[in-house]
């Protein structure tokens, strides 16, 4: 009983401190991770096995960690090194692309392609946000899209806020379509052994339907606001996309590396290369291509997020080792009466509501062992629960300005440029499509799998 109380106490302290933001979140999770190892595993449980399993370092030295797509061995226990290495690799790749002006070039080129007409820009930017987020982290996608949207808003005289809100939603939606789009998916995929293709044919299909629904929804919801001040545009006076490319040769190389990363991810179930391998390989290629600028790319990588993940996995490992997550899963099984449809609905909607207000990464990391245990005890397919968890955490995060990283970054970029977005404005615009997509996802999972 005492170990369970300590594990829960550490978890609650961690969550509380992360929410208050008094201390940087990576320091919080690392400190709580240390508490878990020293107090919980060391002093209370006196278990070196628990420490070793949670630190999970041995997995790095197994061949399966690098070459064996679909392996879930050791994945959901303790630190998920595959997630960390993959995210680190993608961070470096994205920094390399940003350095040569790829994202600004892409945004400007698409705007030019649709002749700077507001509604076509609005629709193409939503689609671009969703597609890019399938492969690149949502923060980077929104960072560039929102900045260019404000710029275009000033040039074309439209209010950029509706467009930024739509881009945020589509970034989170696109991220749900693939294994590497959103951190919860990376955690779910690497922990449970699902491949890129598994996500695409399952959550990807739901996202495709949802994307069509939300594009139509946003078009009707925002079109009056977007076309209010439109006037004739002289394309000749618009910025030339080519001018934002800082290094032509570098641009070609980093774009090729990006496409190589996409190809490796799409085919990793066939090639057997794990996402950890792909992350490290792509990072190395990017650093070689960057040459002298390699140290800048390493320095720019968001190491705080990686440390946050490490601490988080240790704390969740504490919950797992003490059996707390099994108690939660038994509770869900009990209230659902073993009804698979009810279990799926509970997973989706509880994940969605929780992710709307708290960081969906710790939530997903906590829920992975829960759904694993549920699948064993309640005779429900683990895959179905995984897709439910993915949709709940990824889509639920859309509902509030603090629900997902893309929301925070998007609203912040808008406010920094002088377009503050209130909670009311945000929720009035994005809560209805969030509910719409969650209902669609629940129904699709029910009728497709159960």
């Amino acid at each position: 009983m005492l170990p369970q109380v300590i594990a829960v106490a550490i978890f609650i302290i961690m969550f509380g401190l992360v929410i208050t933001e008094k201390i940087e979140r990576h320091i919080v999770t690392l400190f709580c991770g240390l508490l878990t190892i020293v107090v919980l595993f060391g002093l209370c449980m006196r278990s070196t096995d628990a420490i070793m399993q949670t630190l999970n370092v041995r997995t790095l030295f197994t061949p399966e960690f690098w070459y064996n797509a679909g392996s879930s061995e050791d994945g959901s226990t303790g630190i998920n090194w595959a997630t960390i290495l993959f995210i680190a690799g993608m961070m470096i790749m994205v920094e390399g692309m940003a350095l040569v002006g790829f994202f600004r070039w892409l945004c400007m080129s698409i705007a030019r392609l649709v002749k700077y007409k507001t509604i076509p820009v609005f629709i193409t930017f939503m689609l671009m946000s969703a597609i890019l987020s399938m492969f690149i982290d949502c923060i980077t996608v929104i960072l560039f899209l929102a900045a260019v949207t404000v710029e275009l808003g000033r040039l074309l005289k439209f209010n950029p806020v509706p467009m930024i809100l739509s881009e945020i939603f589509c970034a989170n939606l696109g991220g749900a379509a693939t294994m590497c789009g959103d951190p919860p998916n990376i955690i779910i995929g690497t922990s449970l052994g699902y491949t890129f293709a598994d996500f695409v044919v399952n959550t990807g299909v739901i996202v495709l339907v949802a994307l069509i629904l939300v594009v139509v929804y946003f078009y009707f919801f925002f079109r009056k606001e977007l076309t209010a001040n439109n006037s004739d545009i002289d394309i000749a006076n618009m910025p030339d996309p080519k001018k934002v490319i800082t290094n032509k040769k570098g641009f070609i190389i980093h774009t090729l590396i990006f496409f190589l990363a996409v190809a490796l991810l799409v085919t990793h179930a066939m090639t057997g290369l794990t996402v950890a391998f792909i992350g490290v390989f792509i990072a190395l290629l990017t650093l070689i291509a960057a040459g002298k600028k390699a140290p800048t790319l390493i320095a720019k990588a968001d190491y705080k997020t990686l440390l946050f993940f490490i601490g988080l996995f240790v704390v969740v490992g504490g919950l797992e080792q003490t059996g707390i997550l099994e108690i939660i899963s038994a509770f869900i099984g009990k209230i659902s009466g073993g009804n698979p449809r009810l279990i799926v609905a509970i997973i989706i909607w509880i994940s969605a509501v929780a992710s709307a207000f708290i960081d969906n990464i710790p939530f997903a990391a906590t829920m992975v062992p829960v759904i694993k245990s549920l699948a064993e005890t309640e005779n429900v397919s683990l895959a179905v629960l995984a897709w439910a968890l993915s949709m709940g955490t990824d889509i639920g995060g859309n509902a509030t300005p603090i629900g997902a990283s893309a929301n925070v970054v998007g609203t912040s970029v808008a406010a920094k440029k002088g377009y503050p977005i209130s909670w009311r404005r945000y929720c009035v615009s994005l809560v209805p499509p969030t509910i719409m997509v969650l209902v669609a996802a629940t129904l699709m999972i029910w009728f497709r799998y159960l």
Partner: protein, 199 residues
């Protein structure tokens, strides 16, 4: 010879007459005043919607409704505050002289040599009289308003600044406007500024 830069930062309690004194100082030294009008300058310089910015003017950040990711905060209050701080820094960097009311200016502009920081307070009964007159409310409502506004200003200030709001160690001069009256207080401060600047 080029005139030395003079920036007068006036912090104030609600109802203390700090705003009146700031305007008086601006008149004496022929300087522009930045208060809530800072938002309209900010909006017109950047082609922004004034009404959307104004509602966050000197409003404290709502911590429970805010999150920060990679240095980006969703809080409109925090982002608008930073827009104002950058605006003030830009004006000061251009060598301009001005009077600024509140907006953490004693901290935000602390690197500028020409900065003189004042904090104006007053006795509660005088503050109640001022607020009653200005807002056309009863004495009890005025007192509630004063406490609420000062709490907001304190929370707003202390989030962004190292020093505490109203702490005399944080300002060159802290003065109770009830003792001399508003005009005489303004004259007293003006004398102090002249002695500091040989103006």
């Amino acid at each position: 010879m080029e005139k030395k830069q003079l920036i007068i930062s006036v912090g104030r309690e609600y109802g203390s007459g700090g705003h009146y004194i700031a305007n008086k100082l601006a008149e004496i030294f022929s300087l522009p005043v930045y208060d809530s009008n800072l938002m309209s300058d900010l909006a017109s310089e950047n082609n922004l919607y004034l009404h959307k910015l104004s509602k966050y003017d000197e409003v404290p950040k709502k911590h429970l409704l805010s999150r920060t990711v990679c240095g980006y905060s969703n809080s409109p209050e925090e982002n608008v505050a930073n827009l104002q701080f950058n605006f003030l820094r830009k004006k000061a960097s251009e060598g301009k002289s001005f009077v600024v009311v509140g907006r953490c200016s004693e901290d935000v502009l602390s690197e500028f040599k020409g900065l003189i920081t004042i904090f104006v307070l007053a006795d509660m009964k005088d503050k109640i009289n001022v607020v009653r007159k200005n807002e056309n409310v009863s004495a009890s409502v005025a007192e509630v308003l004063i406490k609420q506004m000062d709490k907001n200003r304190k929370t707003y200030h202390n989030y962004y600044c190292k020093g505490k709001w109203g702490d005399s160690r944080n300002y060159d001069l802290s003065i109770n406007s009830s003792k001399l009256g508003l005009d005489a207080t303004a004259e007293f401060i003006a004398d102090y500024i002249r002695k500091r600047t040989d103006n």
